[in-house]
Symmetry: C2
Subunit: 361 residues, 2 copies
């Protein structure tokens, strides 16, 4: 027996009954549980992929090595958009992605990632943990044998990369843009053609002209993909993704067969990553933004007010229609809308009021 | 040897040599470690005190009961403002409070809670986890045998409760107000008299006229203290506390004697609570705000722009002078200021730009 294994055994507390020390060692060695985590991101992709890596690391570390999680990038075990099914059928015990990728399974899933002109990261966390958000999300995924958890947030995203200026709503007409989820539907109503592609395919699609524009995440992530080499104009704010929640999905049966302490470790590790990823973006976006502007001469522009007003009108249409699609979507919409209403009232005299005071003086 | 010392020995890897399983088993059975957590809050106080309770619960749960933490409210074991010393000398293994209470130990401590016109909760987390914030904080507290960790955030606070309107800076003159830390010094420069009192003494002090005004936290907390019964005007934004980080402090020796997995559990539980508390405030402030306005007829007002501009000027003075007090304060100030500069650039085109677009349409 190696010295390190014995020390681990001491920490595990699983073997309080008698027996020879050799038996302890053997049982301990067997008690290492191995999980696979499939992800929708390129392996080790900054922020998103490394967030998934951190989740695996935390689970392994807090469990003292009793539960070890190995991360697979998109296409390593399954393609990006098959993560949901893979975890549902137990090919992997965990997954990391974003709920709006699964609107084909349920339209309501989109509420659990992000909604155009909807909640920020801070508000999403409020709704998830202290409103009905996570409860409803679990109810939905339970039908697929999955347990979801918020596991990362990008914060307010950027509006996207364009090869021409957006000076009016007319400039969106005919635009073939990679923009998933509800934001894509908003673009459609504005006359554009939304396309859904995994992150790994954005650069070549934009560069080749297969798409005219793309949104991805924020300066830190967009710099990593080199999108500035394929488009000149970088618009803000990301009205369509004001605080995108990334998801961990866990195979329900796999989770339930764990001892209680490991279940708690898995779910709390998701909470840690949920906060850490937002902190990482908050810390790393400023330098990336400066690099894009100063080194790569990217032209940063805000959407004109009247464009935002129009997009806001379409957003309300899209979300209202989504709520009418089925009873569950209506239930989620009602909860989301009520929470957002309170958040806007309180946020108006806290976050917004403060940021305006800090900015203008 | 006392039982607790023996248990600590286990964690420290003191027993890596062989022996019969009987010895292991017996040691395992005894291996429940008991910690005390002293807090600066009234026991079970909503948000702050319950956040400390959650921290204890998470550690107990994730450790499978191997490490059990019992929470004490202010005055139960030690008074609110003796929490730092109590954990430093090992009377309790953990504490929960806010770093600006310890400016008597080190002026620089204040940067790790909140700075007038400084960082929001999201920005503080960026600085703490992915900037130098937490590293510097640990460096400072190491001299006291303590390990600090962010363990809760109130978000942007309210400006405070007043018995008269604040229409100009002159209205602050002569005002005796409970406002701790750097915000208190800002008030002093505006002609007021800052007072520091623990939360539990606010209501009676304001009601009796011992103080003229007080800030505390936000609607959820202020409603719980019944402050609306002692003052009529409730001002925003809380320029002096834009994202107050609460702290967990851990006795360094106690932490180091834990096995690695328990150390990770303790520190990650702090991270979970850091996020959860902000989520709780975000979820519960809206209803509390409505209750204050609709049921208790509180008069909610924003500080006039010119008052905020003056307070901003004094804030810059105060923070700049703080940085000049000692070499360590200067180092923390430089790190804080550089991070804030980047946050304002990026935040201007993300959070602020988005909230303005959401608000005005």
């Amino acid at each position: 027996m190696k010295r390190r294994e014995f020390i681990k055994g001491l920490g595990a507390g699983a073997l309080v009954t008698g027996g020879a020390l050799g038996a302890v060692s053997q049982a301990q060695a067997k008690s290492t549980i191995k999980w696979k985590m499939v992800t929708t991101w390129p392996k080790n992709f900054p922020g998103l992929g490394t967030g998934a890596n951190l989740l695996a690391k935390l689970i392994t570390e807090m469990s003292g090595g009793r539960l070890r999680v190995k991360v697979y990038g998109a296409k390593e075990l399954v393609p990006a958009f098959e993560v949901f099914d893979a975890v549902s059928r137990g090919t992997a015990e965990m997954g990391h992605g974003a709920a709006y990728y699964w609107k084909g399974k349920s339209e309501a899933a989109q509420f659990f990632s992000t909604v155009p002109f909807g909640m920020t990261a801070q508000e999403m966390n409020g709704w998830m943990y202290y409103g009905d958000g996570l409860k409803l999300w679990r109810e939905l995924y339970d039908g697929f044998g999955l347990v979801p958890a918020p596991a990362g947030n990008t914060g307010v995203q950027m509006g996207g990369w364009f090869n021409k200026q957006i000076n009016s709503v007319d400039d969106l007409k005919g635009l073939k843009m990679r923009i998933p989820g509800l934001g894509g539907e908003v673009l459609r109503r504005a006359g554009g053609t939304p396309v859904n592609l995994p992150g790994g395919e954005l650069f070549t699609s934009l560069k080749s002209g297969a798409i005219d524009a793309t949104e991805w995440v924020n300066p830190y992530n967009d710099l990593a993909f080199g999108l500035f080499k394929a488009a000149k104009y970088y618009y803000y704010p990301g009205f369509h993704e004001p605080g995108t929640t990334l998801e961990a999905i866990i195979n329900k049966e796999a989770l339930q067969t764990l001892p209680k302490d490991l279940q708690s470790i898995v779910l709390n590790a998701c909470k840690v990553v949920n906060q850490e990823m937002l902190a990482e973006y908050t810390a790393r976006n400023p330098a990336a933004l400066r690099t894009l502007v100063e080194k790569h001469k990217v032209d940063i522009r805000s959407y004109p007010d009247d464009v935002l007003a129009t997009l806001r009108r379409y957003s309300e249409e899209v979300v209202t229609e989504l709520a009418a699609k089925d009873a569950f979507s209506k239930k989620v919409f009602d909860s989301y809308s009520a929470f957002l209403k309170g958040s806007r009232e309180w946020g108006g005299i806290s976050n917004l009021s403060y940021l305006m005071a800090r900015d203008k003086v």
